[in-house]
């Protein structure tokens, strides 16, 4: 599945991640709903690939082979 973050960018440039979504349609629906809220009018939204999330995956080096501590 595709993994996408929706980020909120505030007028001062601060970025806040809304969430992780699993299709562009799902992410675009969230952005449309947020954009429709008058109180959020000053914010911009971006949909970005959750690249760091993918990089963080440890794949085969996962828990069951973790060194004892």
């Amino acid at each position: 599945m595709e993994k996408l973050y929706v980020n909120e960018i505030r007028p001062d440039g601060a970025v806040s991640t809304i969430g992780l979504f699993y299709s562009r349609a799902e992410a675009e629906k969230i952005v449309a709903m947020l954009s429709d809220i008058p109180e959020q009018a000053a914010c911009r939204y971006e949909i970005v690939q959750a690249v760091r999330h993918v990089l963080a995956e440890r794949g085969a080096q996962r828990a069951q082979t973790a060194p004892e501590e």
Binding site: M1, K3, S16, T17, L20, R52, H53, Q64, A66
Partner: protein
């Protein structure tokens, strides 16, 4: 007030779960299809109470000259009803579901702690305990909302049966604790082993304040939940939301263990070391079992 925080749908209404279930050729999540009668009864109990989350408000309003004693009275009532923790904060848009509107000024958070000793009895016992506490929270929130309406103030219960509010931001704001790597809020006494119920209301109350005691910094290097997750669903990296670190769980990896098999999965919470203070012997015994099957355990307790 309009909400701005997306809520992920539950069950087959969640498009991620639906796609994964359909890919197996099934029409229902294996876990939900295999629920035992006792679990089904708990789930039915909160559905049954949903119609009673709101109701008529007494036209004879109690005067509140000072919100402090009223807040103490409400907290006392919630504890009499069975809550282990009670907190109050002013509602903010990020505490409300995107697409929902809540007109009330305050939210009261109630928590019931799970019996951590159930981890020694296996996944079925842990699931039954979780559902028991959810059902109890539903009863508490429903009764507390009715109690407030009887005093002449509007009040609506929010629980597993029906809700428009978000647990984590409310828990943080009322001072129950901090968000942990596993995605649940961590309290210094109950760890992450507790369940919520809420009441929104216009009854004048005094707000509690957030409390930070190092959880987010601790989670940066602990990684015990991450390394005990059978699906490898808990990420190394975090994002920031409203200034709070969030580790967003990868549902595509979580669901094969938590939704697509019969057995309940609650391991990320069960292995969280913040439970060790209140249940030292049980936690150590549980982690010893985990270590024996190859999972990481904390360096120290």
């Amino acid at each position: 007030m309009r909400g701005i925080t997306p809520r992920r749908e539950q069950g087959m209404a969640d498009p991620v779960l639906a796609e994964m279930v359909h890919a197996t050729g099934a029409t229902e999540s294996r876990h939900f299809a295999a629920l035992k009668p006792v679990i089904q009864a708990y789930r039915a109990s909160w559905v049954k109470l949903a119609p009673y989350r709101d109701g008529p408000v007494n036209s004879q309003r109690v005067t509140v000259d000072d919100p402090a004693p009223m807040t103490a009275q409400i907290k006392q009532k919630a504890k009499e009803l069975g809550a282990d923790m009670v907190g109050v904060c002013r509602l903010q848009p990020h505490m409300i579901d995107l697409g929902s509107e809540v007109v009330h000024e305050f939210v009261i958070a109630c928590c019931v702690a799970e019996d951590y000793e159930k981890v020694t009895e296996g996944a079925d016992a842990v699931e039954e305990e979780a559902m028991r506490t959810y059902a109890q929270c539903t009863e508490i929130a429903t009764a507390l909302a009715a109690y407030i309406r009887q005093m002449g103030y509007p009040a609506i219960a929010h629980h597993n049966g029906a809700s428009e509010v978000q647990a984590i931001p409310i828990f943080y704001q009322v001072g129950f604790g901090e968000l942990g790597r596993h995605g649940s809020l961590i309290n210094e006494e109950f760890g992450a082993s507790f369940r919520p119920g809420f009441v929104t209301t216009d009854l004048p109350l005094v707000e509690d304040q957030p409390r930070e005691f190092g959880v987010q910094d601790f989670c940066m290097h602990c990684n015990v939940c991450q390394r005990n997750c059978p699906g490898d669903a808990i990420p190394q990296d975090h994002v920031m939301t409203h200034g709070i670190k969030r580790w967003l769980i990868d549902l595509e990896k979580c669901y094969p263990y938590s939704r697509l098999r019969d057995e309940y999965c609650h391991l990320c919470v069960d292995v969280c070391p913040y439970i060790v203070k209140s249940h030292p012997e049980t936690y150590k015994a549980f982690m010893k079992e985990r270590k024996q099957v190859g999972y990481k355990t904390p360096k120290t307790y």
